[in-house]
Amino acid sequence: MTLSHSPAGSATRRRRGASRQSRAGMAFVAAYVVLLIAFGVLPTAYAIYFAFTDAGGRVTGFANFVTTAQDFRFMDAVGHVATYLAFWLLSLVVFVVALALLLHRLASGSASKALRFLYYIPGALAGAASVLVWLFMLDPTVSPVSSLLGALGFHTFGEVIAPGNLPLLFTIIAFWTGAGGWIVVMYGALNNIPTDVMEAARIDGAGAWQTAWHVQIPMLRKWIVYMVILAFAGGAQLFVEPQLLSLASVGVAGRDYSLNQLTYDFAFQMNNINGAAAVSVELLVVSVSAAAVFVARSGFFDAD
């Protein structure tokens, strides 16, 4: 706004410009606001309403939360999702950051670029496709790594997908599809560390480890936090992996392994919409408050 010339005229012009801009701004966001209300605000309000009422619409306080929490499958599902999240977030932070650093140190730029692209390819197989691929990978009769599975003591598909292994298996599937994209993001963030900072570290005699630990990783912190937030929110929603596995395993993995499967079961098998809503609300509250803590502590969204 350094373009104003005559002080008196420009003030009114600016004011008129501002109100014109304001109207235009509202027009540009109008359609988005409609969608935000219809598919963000309303369903959330709907979920909260159903969670605190019974089938007849009477307010019941926390009764639905108590009923669902006492369901014999609930604590199991919580435990499953929590174990899976621990594996998944840890592997993501450790391996994605390590791989991005290694790729960034690679002398050959084209090798680094090719590897980033190849690591990224499984991302195209997100959703049901990735689960199907890994059902094959984990079935010793057809897997290309059946000797590896055998060496680990697994000789049948049933042994591989034993309930105790599931958090790790879901982590592998999620990492396989998701890590490549995050490696690209971290690599980009590493590229944006000013060269004079890196230069200074080298002149001070810092080796690769010290540079990574004291310079690069601290500067990646925002992006790591961002990754953890989104991965947490995504991981807590676990649905397609156990659902497809339950189709393929004739009962080894149940249809009530994860919390979202449980909401599906409550809503569409047991006709308990209010119970389903209560579980949804719990998931929402946990995810959003975890995100809020991360956001508040990292200052990620300070852009405004």
Partner: protein
């Protein structure tokens, strides 16, 4: 490691070689992890079920077997697979168009104009963006049910079209990559607000349009839970849900299947078919993705 620079110089080349070997083997190990399953999947589609079990896992079967698998797959439920693919394309493309038409102007307005409620809207976008959308599937079902849209394609297209991440991406892009004085100059020249957006902002926004389009397309194409709930009938399923239902017709995974079974190589082929559109989009978007995923958030 902290004393590396005190080492006598003649030990350094050995060390460097060792660290290079270590780096190389870690990177190669992960390469195998990421690529081997994809390679296996492509090859599996060219085999018979017999070959899948007995041949080398990374060998090519035959084009004949590929053709046989294709015929068996398309014969399943009277070419259901092609119908599912068509459904997916229809749902993904319509919601992509709506998403772009809505998210780009919204992100632009949040970044470049002042209006009442702007800050509230920004915060709401952030919160909704962080909200795990699968938890809203049941309430969305109730809402869509209340307006009698269950079983129509709008039951998933409309929720897909709401894409706060795209709005946020656009907002970040405009705040960091497009200077406000450019727009002010155009306004000085008598350009209307719409004209500023259309002729100044939009041409500059190509990278972020591509990025939002890519992310939204992939997210919609790979979504499973929402269409699984909203569109239970086979004729309306998108390919993701369809492939999932194929799985329950594979005897080696589900021995209870009757005579109309699907064999494993055919399932592999179906999986391949399901991801091909996304792979193609990946290849086209590669330039943006691998080099410029952060182009909006940072400056070169």
């Amino acid at each position: 490691m902290s004393r590396s620079h005190h080492q006598p110089p003649h030990r350094r080349p050995v060390r460097r070689l060792a660290s290079r070997l270590l780096t190389g083997s870690v990177l190669a190990g992960f390469l195998a992890f990421f690529v081997l399953p994809v390679l296996w999947l492509v090859l599996a589609a060219t085999k018979t079920d017999q070959q899948l079990v007995h041949d080398n896992p990374l060998s090519f079967g035959s084009f004949h077997a590929l053709k046989t698998n294709w015929d068996a797959l398309t014969a399943f439920q009277d070419n259901a697979v092609m119908q599912w693919l068509g459904n997916s394309a229809l749902y993904a493309v319509i919601s992509l168009v709506i998403t772009l038409g809505i998210a780009i102007p919204a992100g632009y307005a949040l970044a470049m104009t002042e209006f009442r409620g702007r800050h509230t809207l920004l915060v709401a976008t952030l919160v909704v963006m962080l909200m795990p959308n699968a938890t809203l599937v049941v309430p969305l079902f109730l809402e869509i049910n209340a307006v009698h849209l269950i079983g129509t394609m709008w039951s998933i297209i409309l929720p897909y079209s709401f894409y706060p991440f795209g709005v946020y991406l656009t907002y970040i892009y405009f705040t960091t990559a497009v200077p406000k004085y450019l727009l002010a100059a155009a306004r000085m020249d008598g350009c209307s607000e719409f004209c500023v957006f259309w002729h100044i902002a939009l041409p500059l926004a190509t990278p972020v349009i591509a990025l939002v389009g890519f992310f939204s397309f992939v997210a919609n194409w790979t979504n499973y839970f929402l269409p699984y709930v909203m569109l239970p009938e086979s004729s309306q399923m998108p390919i993701q849900v369809g492939v999932g239902s194929l799985l329950s017709n594979v005897p080696s995974f589900n021995p209870a299947v009757g005579t109309l079974a699907i064999e494993r190589p055919q399932l592999a082929l179906a999986t391949l078919v399901a991801v091909t559109p996304v792979l193609i989009v990946f290849l086209f978007a590669q330039r943006f993705l691998v080099s410029g995923m952060l182009a909006g958030g940072t400056k070169e």
